[in-house]
Symmetry: C2
Amino acid sequence: MTGIEGNAARHRRPLRADAQRNEDRLLETAAAVFAREGAGASVKDIAREAGVGVGTLYRRFPSRELLVEAVYRQEVRRLCEAAPHLAATLPPVDALRTWMERFIDFMAAKGGMADALRVVLTDDSERLQTRGLLAEAIDHLLSSGEGRPAARPEADAQDVLMALGGISLMALGEDRRDLATRLIDLLLRGVVRS
Amino acid sequence: MTGIEGNAARHRRPLRADAQRNEDRLLETAAAVFAREGAGASVKDIAREAGVGVGTLYRRFPSRELLVEAVYRQEVRRLCEAAPHLAATLPPVDALRTWMERFIDFMAAKGGMADALRVVLTDDSERLQTRGLLAEAIDHLLSSGEGRPAARPEADAQDVLMALGGISLMALGEDRRDLATRLIDLLLRGVVRS
DNA sequence: ACGGTAAGCGGAACCGGTTCCGGTTGCAAG
DNA sequence: CTTGCAACCGGAACCGGTTCCGCTTACCGT
């Protein structure tokens, strides 16, 4: 479980040995702390528990949200990879709806991911692979269904992702699961082929 | 311009004289500072410039967002009051779309209102009159149009408000006005009578 | 007028995120 | 094996929001 491999290291000179060690340790620790205390845990705590200074943490993860993103990147990837299977198994609209509800549940399960989500969907810097992953998954769901795409042709995966993000931001709280469901229905009504 | 009259004071013993004076001064100062530096200005600055301690500010406005809400309540009210006129003047869907775009533009114009907006739409405590105002305006637009309501009967003003809030949260940034427009279209397609 | 007290006041202290910078060190060239 | 230096490190310092608490005061009843 040491070292989120698929790193963005692809086109970046390899890290110095100590730096790499610290990065691994930070991700490891952050994952543990988030799991234990929710994604709201303090950055300072994580740094201390990982045995490094905050400066070190910040050089690798320039903001709290980026750390969160890095920690959950794996799980989001898994979520996205499930899209093709859904698309192949269920009727188009149901596949889309199901995937969206899974997305909401995932976000809700992490607690306090709202800010991180906003950053991931809003910030257009490179290194935020997560956003592309999500858009790709949605694109898959929109265009699936043999010969009868689920969505109106103009419906754009990026836009749908943004809309879903907006819904998450509003409906991520405690007793809001039903609100999320209703808003997803609303969104689908606008997206789906009439 | 001293003393937002329509206060929630309705069923609250009147404030002590000095307290009322401070509240007025705070609102006045906050409005000025927000206008000068955007809604991101620091609470401490506002308190200092109003000549009171932060403690005083916080007793009256228990969080930064609530202060923002109070400062802009008037303008939001005005926005909402424009709804009936739009409803009477334009075809139902156009009225709704126009109002929504005004809403977005208003939020964008204030800069850094995103957090305040989330609180206003999300927090269900009393004293947040703004939310009710907005829902009412939307309700008006949804059910207007002589004999031919704009919206599908199940469309709920609260839900539409939440969706619009979500859109705002995602599309409030710099070059995002067009995203907002597209998302509003998407939303309308789900809301409007087919 | 007077006194008691609830309401109010100010600001020091706390907390979490973020930045900065003087000192350290992996590593590669000589 | 040195040595030069870019990359790194740690943590003190800063900043903004929020809480806490000892002191003050407006106001009501007498």
